[in-house]
Structure formats: structure tokens, C-alpha cells
Symmetry: C2
Subunit: 371 residues, 2 copies
């Protein structure tokens, strides 16, 4: 618990990156920001003093300051060398979704650089990378925190790790893990439905308009983002999931539209042809209603059966999952200690500010442990 300065490298200045830098600039006793990289440029505090540091809240102006070093994009190896040569402990915050950077985490960790990130790629790709990351971290030279990889700032990863570390037996995890799919189904099949309601394609178009979907909505509808989150949770719960392709994912993209290209024109074509498939979704919705239920797109892990599933499922109207609002996420942890009623975490699971909050909270925990 000394007060030696800690050196911080941050990569990515998109929605989450900017929100994070804004939160960082308001922290008392923040670590010293000495590297800030975006795709086209890297800003560095000059070595060997690693001083002056980069003002987190004002990095755009600081980019013009002659006291800082400017460089083109640096390789992960270069960044790791720069941070590990700092005159103190260092932390890398990866606010990108870059798989190449993610695959270099073990390099950083071996050099004693801790990792804080909302980037799912490292934790949800090949199992070998996951094992390499956590085996390296277990050697005790550096830490890895990634709360915002699932449910943004909601206490999901930390709660699951606490359950496991204290010896509880997690039997099942079930929830709605995509803000986009939450909004789509809460709107398409609300609990208190009066009349026929909106058509599926209309709801997708509305979500796209509101900016709730990826530029190509098929990047939400394919379920891959949910599958990556489930891969992470299943692995923490102890399952050796090889990759997010190693279990069934129910895609909501009609087969006929899967091969339409992901160009601007292709996306337009996709949206135009989506109404042809409204009948299929209405059928699913009405079948649920006949059973007094509603349909939701969920992910689940059955730890005992070693089963991970991502897709549509029916829920009782008075269940917590059915009652979800807006674009909220909900995560139910069923465990031996908690018994019949699960431990539930619920709230916004996407968005720059709340995702950045998870990153900032993780950063504070790493700083506390390094001090």
C-alpha cells in the first residue's frame, strides 16, 4: 500500500474509450497516463522519464503539445516494451475490440503489465488463449480484470468469480445478455400485449433507427455477441468451452438473407427483404402466447450437464426475464447456496458510460492491489 506512481497505457478512443478517459480525468490519485493509442496515432510521454503525463480529459489538445512524443500505430510488442520500461508498475487498458491486441495479452502479462479491458475477444476465442492468459496471471506478476466483457458495468464477472472463489457450486446461469435483443423482444412480445402489436421487421427497423443495433443488424441477430459472453461465463464457472462456435447458437438471420453482403447496399437489401420473414416470428410469438408465455432471446449455461445454449426460449409472464424493461440485461445465477431463487443482477448492459464505468472500477481495483 505504498504510493509509488503507476503508469497507464490506454488503447482506443471510441465510445467506451472516450467515456473512460473522461472518468479517468476526474479520478483522485489516478495512475499516470503515459500512452494513448488510436488506430492512426500514438501519443507517448517521453522516455526515460515517462513525464509529462498525458491529460486524460484533454488528450485532443494535448496531441498538439510539443512535450509529448507522437508516433504512428505501434505494435503490441512495442507498446509492451514501452510500458514495461516505465519506472514503476504499469497497466494496459484495452478499449478496443481488436482480436490481434487481445491475442497479445500474455506478452503484456509476462512483462508484468496488468490488463483491464471490456474487449471480449481474448476471453471468448480459442480456449488456449484463455489458459495462457490466466496461467500467466497466476504467476503473480500482473493482474487481469475484465468486468465489462459481460453486462458492461453490471457486477456480473465479479459476482460469478466471488461465488466460485468462496466455494459455492454454480449450477446454472441464465439471462438476457444483449441490450439490442432485449429491446427487440421486450418491444415485439411485451408481457402486457394488447392487440397484434408491431411486426418483427418493424421492431428491427425501429431499433436500427434509434442506434440500438450495430450498423449491420445481423451482427446482433446472429447471436455471436451473446455466444461470446456465454463462453466467458461458462469458462469462469469451470467448463472447458473450446470456442463460441462449439455450442448451438440460434441465429435470427433468415437463411435466405445470410449471404447478402455486409455493405451499405447489402444492409439496405437485408432490411428491405426482412418483412418477408415476419410470419415466422409472429408464429413463434403466438405459440408462446398460447402457453401464457412470452418469447425471449437468452443464453444459458448448465454447469452439471456441461451445456451452453444461445437462442429463443419461452418464459412465464411473471418471471424476472419476461419482465425486463427497455434494453436492460438480466443475469440469473443459480447456485447451491442461493437455492431455489437465483442471485439476480439487472440493468443497462451496454452504452459508453456504463461500460466505461466497469473499466474504471476494474482499474481502481488493480491500482489498489498494485499499491
Amino acid at each position: 500500500m505504498s504510493a509509488n506512481p503507476i503508469y497507464l497505457g490506454v488503447i482506443g478512443v471510441g465510445g467506451v474509450g472516450n467515456a473512460f478517459l473522461s472518468q479517468l480525468s476526474r479520478l483522485p490519485n489516478a495512475p499516470k497516463l503515459v500512452l494513448l493509442a488510436r488506430s492512426t496515432q500514438t501519443l507517448l510521454s517521453p522516455a526515460p522519464a515517462y513525464s509529462p503525463s498525458i491529460p486524460a480529459g484533454d488528450w485532443k489538445c494535448a496531441a498538439e503539445a510539443p512535450s509529448l512524443t507522437k508516433s504512428g500505430p505501434l505494435s503490441p510488442d512495442d507498446i509492451a516494451s514501452y510500458l514495461s520500461s516505465a519506472p514503476g508498475r504499469s497497466i494496459l487498458v484495452d478499449n478496443t475490440s481488436d482480436p490481434t491486441l487481445a491475442s497479445s495479452y500474455p506478452v503484456f502479462l509476462r512483462k508484468g503489465i496488468s490488463i483491464v479491458t471490456p474487449n471480449k475477444k481474448a476471453f471468448s476465442s480459442d480456449l488456449g488463449l484463455w489458459k495462457d492468459i490466466f496461467a500467466t496471471a497466476a504467476q503473480g506478476k500482473a493482474l487481469v480484470y475484465h468486468e465489462s466483457t459481460v453486462g458492461a458495468g453490471l457486477p456480473v464477472i465479479s459476482s460469478l468469480k466471488d461465488l466460485v472463489a468462496t466455494g459455492d457450486e454454480v449450477t446454472r446461469i441464465e439471462g438476457v445478455f444483449s441490450g439490442t435483443l432485449s429491446f427487440l423482444f421486450n418491444t415485439f412480445a411485451p408481457v402486457s400485449a394488447g392487440g397484434p402489436g408491431a411486426k418483427w421487421s418493424e421492431v428491427v427497423a425501429k431499433a436500427k433507427e434509434l442506434g440500438y443495433t450495430e450498423p449491420d443488424p445481423r451482427d446482433d441477430l446472429n447471436g455471436m455477441d451473446v455466444a461470446r459472453k456465454l463462453t466467458i461465463l461458462a469458462r469462469i464457472a469451470g467448463l472447458e468451452v473450446q470456442s463460441p462456435e462449439s455450442f448451438p447458437i440460434e441465429s435470427l438471420i433468415p437463411k435466405e438473407l445470410a449471404s447478402v453482403p455486409s455493405t451499405a447496399a447489402g444492409i439496405e437489401e437485408f432490411m428491405k427483404r426482412l418483412p418477408e420473414f415476419d410470419g415466422q416470428m409472429t408464429e413463434i410469438k403466438e405459440k408462446a402466447e398460447k402457453e401464457g408465455k412470452v418469447v425471449r432471446y437468452v443464453g444459458s449455461v448448465d454447469v452439471g450437464k456441461k451445456e451452453v445454449r444461445v437462442g429463443l426460449q419461452y418464459f412465464d409472464k411473471d418471471s424476472a426475464i419476461a419482465g425486463l424493461k427497455g434494453s436492460d440485461n438480466i443475469i440469473n445465477f443459480y447456485t447451491k447456496r442461493y437455492g431455489t431463487n437465483p442471485l439476480i443482477v439487472q440493468g443497462a448492459g451496454a452504452g459508453g458510460d456504463v461500460t466505461a464505468m466497469g473499466v474504471t472500477a476494474d482499474l481502481l481495483k488493480v491500482v489498489e492491489r498494485l499499491h
Copy 2:
């Protein structure tokens, strides 16, 4: 992140204490248990070696072992001296609800002994004690973790602290904070009520039979336990709450029965006379129903208005609070970043195993930070 041994003193072997010792005994790399105190006896590893340590899972047999020192009850000062003389960092786990021990936390912290506890007393009594504890901890010699003081093992304290530390603005906290009162109202005024349902006194008697209430149910019905939890949350959110008596608490004990003594005979008299007041509770329930709502016993903090309230309130039937099941707790955090829909944590908020889980998880975090 060295691996020097950490020395652990544990006080209390009741429901939570026993569950904690059982969890502790299964931890890999657990700190060394060198002091175990209950009201009548203290078991110690002999100084100056502080070895052998006490087997956490088997302390009852170990109490007979000649290699350990036995003593009568020790004062907080004696315990602090013993732990601070250990050849390494030390932690006190207080699994009692003892106010005297709680008032000594600053003594422990000044001597560099970290505190982990589910004991609400230190954090919900006079504001001076709260300030003394956190000012002492801020000097950086020792840590204080108390997740299980609110909602047992649910991530309540940690989530609120993360929100505050990362600069979010918490505007309101609202929830059901008592497992007993949750059960009473979920049973007395369920969302899907058919017919007149059970009388209030019958529900209280049933809860008492099931062991869901304190031996004297008035210790639940007076709202004091909820008020203590709200005091803790309000203080973390930044309000200077002087004591749990400094805001309105709606007691569910009929005035006429408040002075009946808390002896076995008195408790019997209380339960016998409670039906006389069923009419009042039925009236409240029916008034809620006329508005299409249900009545619940909640605590709330309005941070802007600096208001803390504990008592009965009506909720829409489709709200998360109305839909609570069994004896679950629910905590809603309304913040600037989370917007309209709160961050919600829900699940069992009482019971030995889940309370001990919060204590064990805190202990692991303290060990990580001390290493």
C-alpha cells in the same frame, strides 16, 4: 504480491461464524487462523511463533489440542495486541453483532489490523464511529470490508462503492432489505391474490414457526434492522446520517404491544394479542389493491433531498419490488449513468451460508490487497 503468511483472528461461532469457518477450511492458500474467540473461550496459536494454526474446519476438536493456548474471553485491546504482534500482516473477522467490539475497530485499524465483518453495528451507529473507522483506514495501514452488512453476500456495498468511486451520481436507492419482511409481505399481499388470503397475524406466526423471524418477531417488525442497512447505504452515497434514529422509521409493532416485555412469556403474549390488530393491516392491503397495487416494506434513500425513509409503500404489480419471491432482498440503484432503469441486485439477503460467502469473498479481497 508476495506470499508472506497472513494471520487471521475470528470472533463468533454462531450461524454465520460456523458457515464462515467451513468455507475458510476449504480455501486454497487461506490465511493462518491463529485466534478463534467465542463468548466463553478464546483459542490461540502460541506466541511468539503463532504456530501451529487452528484448523478452521475442525476447531471443536482442536480446542482440546494441547498445542493450542486456551484462555477465557479476551478484551478487544488484548485481541488487537495479540494480532498486531504476529510476524506478518493480520486480519480480524468479526462474525458477531457485538456493538462493543464494533466500537473498537479504530483500535484494530490503527495497529494495522484489517477488518472484515457482517456486523452492522460499527457502520450504522453514531456517525463519529463511522468517520473514525474510515479516516483511520484512509491512513493506509489497514483495510475495512463489510459487504455482508447489507443483503448478505449480494453485491450491494461493492456495487455502490464502485458507482461512487467511478464518479457516477447516485440519485436514489430503494429496496426490500429484510428477508423476514420480504417473506411477510410476499405472503400477506402476493401479486396474484385470489380471495381474501391469510391474516397478518397468521403470516407472522407462520414466519416465526419457520424460523424466518428473530426469536422476538418485534426485532424484525420494528424496522430497526432495515434502518441500520439504510444508514450504511446512505453514508456510502455521501449523506451524513447521524444515526439510524435520525430519520423516520415506520414500526409494524402496534403501540399497544410495544411495552410487552421481550421475555418468553412476553413474546407469547405478543403473538396472542397480534390478531387484535389484523384489521389495520387488512385495511392497508385493501387500499393498495383498490389502486391496483401491492404493499411492501421498503427502505429508500433520496440522495438529492437528503432523505432516508423506512416503512410501508405501494408498488405497481409489474414492478420488480412487487414481484419479489420468498424471502429475497432487492436493491435498486438509480444513478445518472444508468438513467431510467436502475441497476438491480436481487436474491437471498439472509442466512448463514450466503452471509458467510460475503465475508469470505471480502477476506479474499483483503488478502489479495495485502499480498
